[in-house]
Symmetry: C2
Amino acid sequence: MELKQPYLLFLGDAADSLAAKVAQGIKTWRPEYCVGQLRLEACNADVGLQDLTVAQAKEAGAQTLVIGVANRGGVISKEWISVLIEALEAGMDIAAGLHNKLTDIPELVECAKKNGCALYDVRYPTQTYPVANGKKRSGKRVLTVGTDCSVGKMYTSLAIEKEMKERGVNADFRATGQTGILITGAGVSADCVVADFIAGAIETITPENDPQHWDVIEGQGSLFHASFAGVTTGLIHGSQADALVLCHEPTRTHMRGLPDYQLPDLKVCMEANIATARLTNPAVKFVGVSINTSGLSESDAMAYMDKVESDIGLPVVDPFRQGVARIVDKLLEL
Amino acid sequence: MELKQPYLLFLGDAADSLAAKVAQGIKTWRPEYCVGQLRLEACNADVGLQDLTVAQAKEAGAQTLVIGVANRGGVISKEWISVLIEALEAGMDIAAGLHNKLTDIPELVECAKKNGCALYDVRYPTQTYPVANGKKRSGKRVLTVGTDCSVGKMYTSLAIEKEMKERGVNADFRATGQTGILITGAGVSADCVVADFIAGAIETITPENDPQHWDVIEGQGSLFHASFAGVTTGLIHGSQADALVLCHEPTRTHMRGLPDYQLPDLKVCMEANIATARLTNPAVKFVGVSINTSGLSESDAMAYMDKVESDIGLPVVDPFRQGVARIVDKLLEL
């Protein structure tokens, strides 16, 4: 699945900026992919792009309308359909990462067919993947892992890719979730693959490469998340990571969605990830810790990160506050 | 998915007895489910049941024809179709655990519909499962785990269930693979579930129960198998096992299908499984080791098991040679 760029970002009737976080992610990490945004009257979000109609976006070269908004329940709202039809009739593909599928809406399927356009439901794999073979392959790989779900693994991975590219390092972010796929136009939604093929899917999207090339692989879930650790395990094994970066959000009071489960201690979490990752790459090492300190004041954030850094002895950064340069320094020493 | 008993076991044109191991498993563990076997002319297998035609089996009360044979590639051979049609026309359901689906053969689908019969492809889940909630539930659970795939986890689990039932313990084998499902008529093929729902599927098939009831859960894969450890991890977390039994085959020279991967040391393997299982049940313990010594002589087998038992300090048995009484003794002490 490879999406065609550039994109028109559809913000729909996003209730607030959080509802448009997919669009914001695309704008932040791939501004060069975006010709503009399209907002309905009720939209309360703005990612800072030019407001365009479908016709104007087409004129500006847009090849794909990306649904950059999530509404309650991941449904595709009736208010959106007329815009989507207009985009298809203008010859654009449509891409979405919602729970409900574009391809389950007969009106869109028919219109896409008539206009020779594609509908991409990036959450759902369209290809079959092989069983992982576990064979060593050339190229270098770094994987983000987490104490919990939604602690900043995608953001950290994209920040590492950006920093590497700015230094002239040959690097590619490898998306393993729907937002990452929409941002970069390729990848696999690891948690939607059939269980037997998780590790095989990750091997497929991080193939053999130049010895100096870096795959920067977006992690999913956590080995300590009772619902999703199977996905995390397969992802770690398929990655054959040379390096791991631990991601953490220090204000969580329990594991996401599991009120009875506490977050793991950072060192315990690192040990478990290393033990798992060693199976397919005995040389794997942690190179740093990425903390999402958005819930802390500047001074509390700095004090917290200082403490973690002296405990762990590796660079500890908040990619949003400080960037990931110190982690990339460590990576390039490998 | 619940299959109707009793069964007519279809051995088809099985090239040898290994090709009919599904039928053999059903005959071994659920003889009371079997009215007889049906063999084509080229069949070289015999599970020791009465040979019946479809009409005779129907007369004897058979409600489901179970395809108890696997041929190369898991395909449904043309030679089989006429027998399957005959069974459907006699009003029987058909169940199979093959890679290729009964429901992909239009001739069978049409005939089943006409006769009001069901086609069960037990490898493929027909229901959706929830995300695991990780909540403690009543009842006791024992899970078999392994150093590798195909080392005797299903056999050991069925032997534990049988021993428990013979002692009057309220116990149920919980199938997590296609053979186990065909044997017992229910379960989930864990490796075919969408990755996000592995642990949730296992929670679903091992629900809250009487405090003294035992679920005996069939394990899958191995934490040390680079292709399938994600399935194993989700299975362990969903099980919330009180007790684990390690299964091992001592003559393996490498992990199944992975020539570059050695088998783990038994103690290392036990530590990794305990560490993983503690997440959802901190009180989890190993209660024994089950060794498949079919590749060893009687004296070598005994010497090997003695050595492992003195190293590990838990009952070590070959369920086939000695039964699992000593492991069940330990379980019932919990």
